[in-house]
Symmetry: C2
Subunit: 334 residues, 2 copies
Amino acid sequence: MKHVAALAGVGVKTVSRVINDEPNVTEATAERVWNAVRELDYQLDLQAGSLRRADGRTRTLGLLVGSVDNPFASAIHRAVEDIASARGVAVFASSMDDDAGRESEAVRAFLQRRVDGLILTTASDHPEYLPLLRERGLPVVYVDREPVEPEVDSVASDNRVGAAVATAHLLAHGHRRIALLTDRLDLITARERRQGYLDALAEAGVPVAEELIVTGLRDAEGAQAALARLLISDSPPTAVFSAQNLITIGAVHALRAAGLSRSTALVGFDDVALADLMDPGVTVVAQDPQRMGTLAAERLFALLGDDDDAPTKTVVPVALIPRGSGEIAPQPTS
Amino acid sequence: MKHVAALAGVGVKTVSRVINDEPNVTEATAERVWNAVRELDYQLDLQAGSLRRADGRTRTLGLLVGSVDNPFASAIHRAVEDIASARGVAVFASSMDDDAGRESEAVRAFLQRRVDGLILTTASDHPEYLPLLRERGLPVVYVDREPVEPEVDSVASDNRVGAAVATAHLLAHGHRRIALLTDRLDLITARERRQGYLDALAEAGVPVAEELIVTGLRDAEGAQAALARLLISDSPPTAVFSAQNLITIGAVHALRAAGLSRSTALVGFDDVALADLMDPGVTVVAQDPQRMGTLAAERLFALLGDDDDAPTKTVVPVALIPRGSGEIAPQPTS
DNA sequence: GTGAAAGCGCTAACAA
DNA sequence: TTGTTAGCGCTTTCAC
């Protein structure tokens, strides 16, 4: 900047004013400065500026998700990026693999880089770093999964209702033995989806069969193995509710491998790529990750503005998409 | 840091030494400093440090891809993140939608944040920002797509050979009318894949049918429409080579809609989720984005080390995965 | 409308 | 082993 100032024959402050589009600079001076900038290929150092700037903003934001390569997470990521980049804010993205330890590390890495705000998916009901963020007054919006703590901003799917809708759909098609395949119950989404499943069974007066409930699934392979075991048991399910995208993929594999994909019903939570092209098509309760990302980012920027509201919990509706697999009737037991 | 120093009763430089694990501090002093750090919940400001540090490093890196929510790109992203975070480096990720203008903007945004290095996918043969990066001595590794410029580090798939393998596979199954569906030809990957397709046809002595070559496709919907048109033409293809993941998805949709998925052969370039569960399974030439990301990141860190080698072009092999759709024989013309 | 000086939080260089 | 001082590139404050 010193060099630019020298070349343009002005003071550094004037260069700063021109580059940051501040008032009180003559057209002619500005022109000279821009010429010098181009001449030197000068790029402003935003970091240095943030050190001294009154608001201390770095024009940077931290996004934490389960994994950036999960399609659900990357849809959120893309939406967040679009909102942020339109405002000149860059996004640090990190994956935490649903591990509370990695989550804490990632948040600390964000803090050391002085992000202006955070959009977080949490693997913990009571994140250890939350008091720290509050003390610092750092804006946070949770997305997809939120802590059990009160007073947090969040954007999440209607997990409980969605799971109930999925289960009720299977019940409506005559099923009574509906398996539930879900994540680790220390994750709030898994607990809510299980609750929705139980709600629907209760509503229909169908007793819960504990042997049909498998929790703690972490990936497609685990889900596939778990369902494969259920399918060869003495009294297999006639329908399956898989409560997460990777679990749904594992479930489809298991049904295929057992030759039961046309006879055992399946409804998944969260849409899956090409689910419509499978045979039968995979019925899902679709989330809207793109919208979740957009809402979370917009809420974060509202917080970064002057918004002093009480924390907002936004629930994004889900939609049942029947495609065939969820509409299979129970087979007569042979 | 001043506060920590005061609380621990030492100078700031000692605090700096302790936190950065520099030598020449007594065990006891270090202990006092750490206690003060915990007491105050102090977090080092990495940005401020980089301003003064000899190497000027920000422990930050910029990753540019087509879109962070494309599965191919997000697999690269995840791999890069893993390598980077192991080294204490955070990743800025941006999408450019194969637009050279957005690409330049993103690179400039990275520069303003003083990233230590860049991993870029380019939409341009001669990126306008490249001289700037060279002048600055900023390490860059291109991934997936590289500029035509000489002297750049890159990690890419063996596009030409992969496309030839795909086409040859269809030829080997007796096809002579093989459609090519590909991206905009201003993208180097599209040109190389087309060349591989032409190589294979030439090798087999099969004349090129220009009417079967569709270029300039940007998404699944466009690809679907384009293939739908070809399929109802007077002399439709008996086989299709779709040269990109979204295009493959569009192609599957078109074949399904036309009721031809069991009679028209299809091989895609780049693997697609659940391709193995389609009916028939989708034969693809699979890339290895995870490996590409790992290699690109490792190369970048080598460059950031003392590595003064000439630029390296790494070619990552691809693998044909037969799943059914590519092994369909040409149907007798009715 | 413009510029000089101070200082953001840190690390380099050097002195103690 | 430790502390002091200067200065990284910028923006703030305030004087002109």
